[in-house]
Amino acid sequence: MNEFRPVANPESGHTEVMTLDPSLKARIEARQVTVWYGQKAGVKDVDMPIYANKVTALIGPSGCGKTTFLRALNRMHDLTPTARVTGEVLLDGVNVYAAGVDPVEVRRKIGMVFQKPNPFPTLSIYGNVVAGLKLVGIRKKSLLDEAVERSLSQAALWDEVKDRLHAPSMSLSGGQQQRLCIARALAVEPEVLLMDEPTSALDPISTQSIEDLLTDLKKHVTIAIVTHNMQQAGRVSDFTGYFLNGDLVEFGPTNLLFTTPKDKRTEAYITGRFG
């Protein structure tokens, strides 16, 4: 798992080999992942690692397949009857699409934060954070209290809500709601956190508070973040994958990919010539 994986590009036929630190451990490894919507492929033959305790950004123009790829990692496509995934997604070496693997277990280990904050409106702030823990049968109040404080602190929301934990979740602002959703995902102690444009519905100040958060969060979890904002990818990520028309065009350390892209298409995108 410590070797480099060359990133193959099936369209251009050439292979990018990035010079990476060999001590890195891939928490997730996608191998030849293709997501089919009926007869049409949303992403094609993607090989890509998500390194442990790093932030990996997925960038690319709208409709390029970055969200489709992200949702393949925790088997969210299982919920769409027309979607089908081929290839392998190895989580710590185990293919999450292998027969006998329960998607419910996969999603417990790989949490997700969505584009629009989606707290459960009938539950309180506290109720939202413990929702996932209650699903696994944890009922003991001291454990739940502990998890609430830990997750809300990790999501940088604790100080703002500690005096009103039982207030309705919808009483929070949009940015607070999104941090609540992050806390909700963190409460079940996932190994990986997938974030699908988590700041696209938020104002600049809330966006910054969530970006600041990621630096601290990656000490605990591995993060993959989809963003349409290249500045954001540059600010928060250690690695970046650039998607175009369903292909992973280029993958590498963020600073290298942004300064010396190997592919003309990547260069065109990051210099703002399209997208």
Partner: protein, 328 residues
């Protein structure tokens, strides 16, 4: 197809000044008038029902009329509607209790589990159930449901109770098949479609983001239903149940045909009972005495009051249950 040439005069024509000035006001006046007619209709209905019933209501007293247990239009001319009030409330609430689980199950199954063709088929049948006239349910009740319930349940249960639990027999009543429980069963099958349709719509309106949020936490299908979908849809489900209750309270024909129409307090399960709408429908054409006539209209007034109270309580509770700002 030949296209008509554009007439420049049509484009240039300006609305007249009077139209521009008055258009808005006339429109507002019409809308206001029509909206106010709702207020007039409701208040007028209540007022004239009271007026029509006032002769008997005044004689028996406002609460005496409501709580009196003797309804004797023939000899004593004494009118108390309590047996009918109880009959209406017991049958409606019981029908609600019986129908909501079935309706909710149908809604959950069609909205979340069934393949599309099956969901479409079931939904079609549910809508059809709502469209079948009440009197048709009544005929089915008389010729199919009542004999079936008598043979399959009432008689065996009655005989069992007679041997093993004699004390129970007096609460069971005559197992003829035409009585309160048959009325409850037919009412509950009639109100299923209202709860089912509204619950189904409410479940379908739960945002995909809510479901995905729960799935992403590692919830199973049932857990998603329980923790996210049903709580989110609870307002619509409650509204469906209240609509069903309203229908059950006012249902006339089918109930009148199977409930046995006894003017006694409905303390037996199988025995005859009656409801307020049934007594209005059955006795109005036979009333000769002014006092009897007025009493029947008085029943209508009290039914109107019950509907008013149930509706007010329902809309108050609905506001509390509804998932508020819909921002998620």
């Amino acid at each position: 197809m030949q296209q008509a040439p554009v007439q420049p005069s049509v484009i240039k024509r300006q609305p007249s000044a009077i139209y521009r000035v008055l258009g808005d006001r006339i429109f507002l006046a019409i809308v206001l008038l029509l909206a106010l007619s709702i207020v007039a209709l409701t208040l007028g209905l209540g007022y004239y029902l009271y007026l029509g019933g006032s002769q008997t209501i005044n004689k028996e007293g406002f609460f005496g009329f409501l709580t009196g247990t003797t309804w004797d239009p023939a000899l004593k001319l004494e009118f108390g509607i309590w047996p009918y009030v109880l009959g209406t409330i017991i049958t409606s609430l019981s029908a609600l209790v019986l129908s909501v689980p079935v309706a909710l199950a149908a809604a959950i199954f069609t909205a979340e589990y069934a393949p599309r063709w099956l969901a479409g088929f079931i939904n079609y049948l549910v809508d059809l159930m709502a469209a079948v006239p009440s009197v048709v349910y009544g005929i089915w009740g008389i010729f199919v449901l009542a004999p079936f319930l008598r043979e399959a349940f009432y008689l065996p249960f009655f005989l069992w109770a007679a041997e093993n639990a004699p004390w129970l027999s007096r609460y069971l009543g005559n197992p003829a098949g035409y009585g309160m429980f048959t009325g409850i069963v037919i009412l509950s099958s009639m109100v299923i479609p209202f709860t089912a349709a509204l619950s189904r719509d409410a479940i379908n309106l739960v945002p995909a983001a809510q479901r995905e949020g729960a799935y992403a936490l590692g919830a199973t299908r049932w857990e998603v239903m329980q923790t996210v979908i049903l709580p989110y849809a609870r307002g619509g489900i409650f509204a469906g149940a209240m609509l069903a209750l309203g229908r059950a309270l006012g249902e006339t024909m089918a109930v009148a045909m199977v409930i046995g129409n006894g003017n006694i307090l409905p303390y037996t399960l199988f025995g005859p009972a009656s409801t307020m709408p049934a007594v209005i429908a059955l006795e109005l054409k036979e009333a000769v005495e002014d006092l009897h006539y007025s009493a029947i209209i008085g029943v209508g007034f009290y039914l109107f009051l019950i509907a008013f109270i149930v509706n007010s309580a329902a809309s108050y509770l609905l506001n509390k249950l509804k998932v508020g700002s819909q921002r998620a």
